[in-house]
């Protein structure tokens, strides 16, 4: 009888019995919530008759600003998901021998927390800000390949959704965000959870690679007249170098994930214990991508801080050239430090020493940047806005992360720290101040440019203090727990270990942190409802070109393309009162790209094919893949050449915002 059932459920190798995850009240609750939310969303959109608006204005858009906003919205949602994972972990470890989560569930949660926070929160948040800001900062009307840009977004979104459904359908990956072999192999993780990891990250990764290519070409070829490389704003520079790192590093991840897929789905022996495979090859490939990835998220964040600190200190960035060279130095060094993630592999003293030295060397250009920020503030007329607060808090918090990083960089000492919570505390002290503070700073700073109203500064300060205090209370104790021997990724500990008080403190911190995030969401809600709509297009008295046009930015960005003579061009335009007025004779027809349904179609079809592949339904997946090729063929024969914006329309739009400019309210000071 039992044999018969097994035979039935594996007909056509469809594993129906593994389809929906059952038996866990938390997951059941989520399943119900997801279904209700989806029904609610569909009903709401239908009731408000917004389907057409949604389709024409958002889902098919190729406008870099809207794509950027969609990235940011997705990132905030993913922040919520990843944050919930974090809170669940903190609840489980708040007391010794807790029974809240079992070990398997805990494994799944720390895995998804890591993947989601890095790849589906930090990356899209930054790429979203890049999308909104970079074309504006370089005085261009869009990116080099607008439709490819939309495709990048939809592939990211598709990968993110595929990864996220794993916990209700099929089971979450559970081998850590690093998914080390042999644990992540079929032998030790026979379920399909880790297939989600391999396939979903592959789809999202293709999107990211295209973003990298797009921004390299955009920044090299579309800068406005007079903007030489050394006159680019710092955020543009960091985006440029990050894009190069993406192109250099992401293909490694593509290959690593493909080999993982082959090992898990087709029985190859790249990383297996048997058949001559080598498990540490995975670790090497993963970190060959993974370490540059750290800088792929850190560099744009540094760019955001540079813009914010310069604007709110009302000074040009100190040491511009040294900033540029330190970015390049960091990027170069980031490619030659990957072994520091596994000194304990046993490569021997010579190899470990080499990687210790390269790792510590990164502290030098990073230190240069730190001092440049401090010197930018020196003698500046500093305005403590919400955006500036995040930049100020970044400096000391990130230094703690950096200094503990140098401690970890020492190969011999690392044998003590390896796999402890000390490391976990370290990288949270790098990534939260380095990336999360930056995206908050960037969001408060550029929000008025995106939407034409500001986020509330007072609520913003609550958000800031709760978040920063919560962050420190959560992660500072983990340094000491780690030094006392608490290992990472352990779902519980004994009372005798003496870890309980610090773990409890950390759990309390995480609640404060979550409260900060809740206030942030409330701020968005409050500002959408009540914020003053009548503000200047340049509320911060800022320095770069994005502030020289309307807020929210008109779809063609600039009526005339500016000529730039120096760094901080808009600042000088304002001081000299040059180039601010638009004359009728300067208005020309503007060429813009048309919307397209292909990017979202490709996202959907990649998602379907990926989903089928995750469940190892190979024939169905191959059929879905035909849809991918159909999309490529349609694109090849697509000769849509966009449309021209007529002079009258430009005239009307420019008049509308320029007229009101004189009678607007000054920003909150």
């Amino acid at each position: 009888m039992k044999a018969k059932i097994t035979m039935e459920v594996t007909i056509m190798s469809i594993k129906w019995d593994e389809f929906f995850i059952t038996g866990d009240p938390l997951i059941l609750g989520s399943q119900i919530a997801i279904v209700l939310t989806m029904i609610g969303a569909v009903a709401g959109i239908t009731y408000l008759k917004k389907w057409k608006y949604l389709w024409t204005e958002w889902l098919t858009t190729v406008d870099h600003k809207k794509i950027g906003m969609m990235y940011i919205i997705s990132a905030v949602l993913m922040f919520f998901r990843g944050g919930m994972d974090g809170l669940l972990m903190k609840a489980q470890t708040a007391q010794p021998e807790m029974g809240f989560l079992d070990s398997q569930h805990y494994n799944e949660i720390f895995t998804t927390h890591g993947v989601i926070m890095i790849l589906f929160m930090a990356m899209p948040f930054l790429i979203g800000l890049m999308n909104v800001v970079i074309p504006l900062q370089i005085g261009a009307r869009d990116v080099a390949f607008p439709q490819l840009n939309a495709l990048s977004f939809w592939l990211f979104f598709s990968g993110a959704m595929l990864f996220n459904i794993s916990f209700v359908i099929g089971g979450s990956p559970d081998a850590g965000w690093t998914s080390y072999f042999p644990l992540a192999g079929k032998e030790f993780s026979p379920g399909i959870g880790n297939n989600f990891y391999a396939v979903a990250l592959q789809i999202a990764g293709i999107g990211t690679l295209m973003t990298g290519i797009n921004f390299i070409v955009t920044i090299l070829k579309m800068r406005t007249k007079g903007m030489t490389l050394m006159k680019m704003p710092m955020f543009t520079w960091t985006t440029f170098v990050t894009s190069i790192l993406i192109v250099a590093a992401f293909p490694i991840f593509t290959v690593a994930l493909a080999l993982m897929t082959f090992d898990r789905l087709y029985g190859t022996h790249f990383f297996t214990v048997s058949g001559g495979g080598m498990d540490m090859l995975w670790a090497n490939l993963f970190w060959l991508w993974g370490h540059p990835e750290v800088y792929i998220v850190a560099l744009p964040a540094f760019g955001i801080f540079s813009e914010v600190i310069s604007t709110f200190s009302r000074k040009s960035l100190f040491g511009y050239k040294s900033m540029v060279f330190s970015i390049l130095g960091i990027a170069l060094l980031s490619m030659v430090v990957w072994v520091h993630h596994f000194y304990t592999m046993g490569s021997g003293p010579a190899v470990n020493s080499f990687f210790s030295i390269t790792t510590m060397a990164i502290a030098i250009p990073t230190g240069v940047k730190m001092f440049n920020w401090l010197f930018t503030m020196r003698k500046g007329r500093i305005k403590i806005s919400s955006a500036m607060l995040w930049a100020l808090a970044f400096v000391p918090c990130f230094v703690i992360g950096g200094v503990t990083g140098v401690m970890l960089a020492m190969g011999a000492a690392d044998y003590q720290y390896h796999n402890t919570l000390f490391l976990v505390a370290h990288f949270h002290y790098v990534l939260i101040p380095g990336v999360v503070f930056a995206v908050f700073a960037g969001l408060y700073y550029w929000w008025p440019k995106m939407f034409g109203f500001m986020l509330n500064e007072k609520i913003g300060k609550w958000h800031f203090w709760l978040f920063v205090i919560g962050f420190n209370v959560t992660f500072m104790p983990m340094f000491f727990l780690g030094l006392n021997g608490a290992v990472r990724r352990a779902y519980t500990y004994s009372a005798e270990s003496g870890f309980a008080p610090l773990f409890m403190l950390s759990a309390i911190g995480s609640i404060i942190l979550a409260a900060g995030f809740a206030v942030f969401c409330y701020n968005i809600y409050w500002s959408i409802r009540y914020a003053d709509r009548n503000i200047s297009s340049d509320p911060w008295d800022a320095r770069t070109l994005e502030w020289s046009t309307a807020s929210p930015v008109q779809f063609y960005n600039f009526a005339k393309l500016q000529e730039v003579k120096s760094l901080d061009p808009f600042w000088h335009m304002k001081k000299k009162n040059e180039g601010l007025t638009l004359y009728d004779s300067e208005i020309e027809e503007i060429h813009m790209p048309s919307n397209s349904w292909l990017p979202i179609y490709m996202g959907v079809i990649f998602g379907i094919a990926g989903f089928l592949l995750v469940f190892e339904w190979h024939i169905a997946a191959a059929l879905a893949a035909i849809g991918i090729f159909a999309g490529l063929i349609i694109r090849s024969f697509d000769y849509n050449e966009g449309f021209h914006v007529k002079k009258d329309e430009i005239h009307r739009i420019e008049n509308a915002w320029r007229k009101t400019e004189g009678e607007v309210h000054d920003h909150v000071s």
């Binding site: 390949f145 607008p146 080598m278 050449e641 966009g642």
Partner: protein
Amino acid sequence: MIMSAKVDTSLPLEYQTEQDRMNILGFWVFLGAEIVLFATLFGVYGVLYERFAGGPTHKDIFVIKDVMIQTVLLLTSSFTMGIAIFEMRRHNLKGLIIWLVITLALGAGFLFMEINEFIHYAHEGATMQTSAFLSSLFVLLGTHGAHVTLGIGWATMVIIQLLKRGLTPTTARKTFIIGLYWHFLDVVWIFIFTFVYLKGLVA
């Protein structure tokens, strides 16, 4: 998107508009990513190439005569692709299409040989699942072969567009880019020939 306003007729057809220049630069950057991708596969092969796990070794399975034929076919196709682009620069549509078709025929010949090679390996008991060496061999060769296959399909699309629309800045740019892609695959093959086949035979 075509900036129809600015056409610089002093340049070759494929470089005449700013959008086409950007597309070509973008493709060069993409080839940079492809280099990293293949470099990683070569690295993996370099790590695993002597891990036979009791299965067949290089000398057991490689048939150098067939590999030589494959090499000659693919290298010649790169040369004919060069002639095709040369004809395009001379605005000779007919010559362009003829040489493109010859290129694709040679590419298809290469693929035919490669598929036969895989079937031969499988008959010898050498499959992707046999050993780490064979896993990395099949995935490296297979990735290259998949690129050639995709290139043939893609170039066919471009030929149809050339027939329908003639030589315009857009079709010229598309042809030029597939040319870059084709030469790139040839370069990768030279590395495969050297570091997989020749090295395997002297090991």
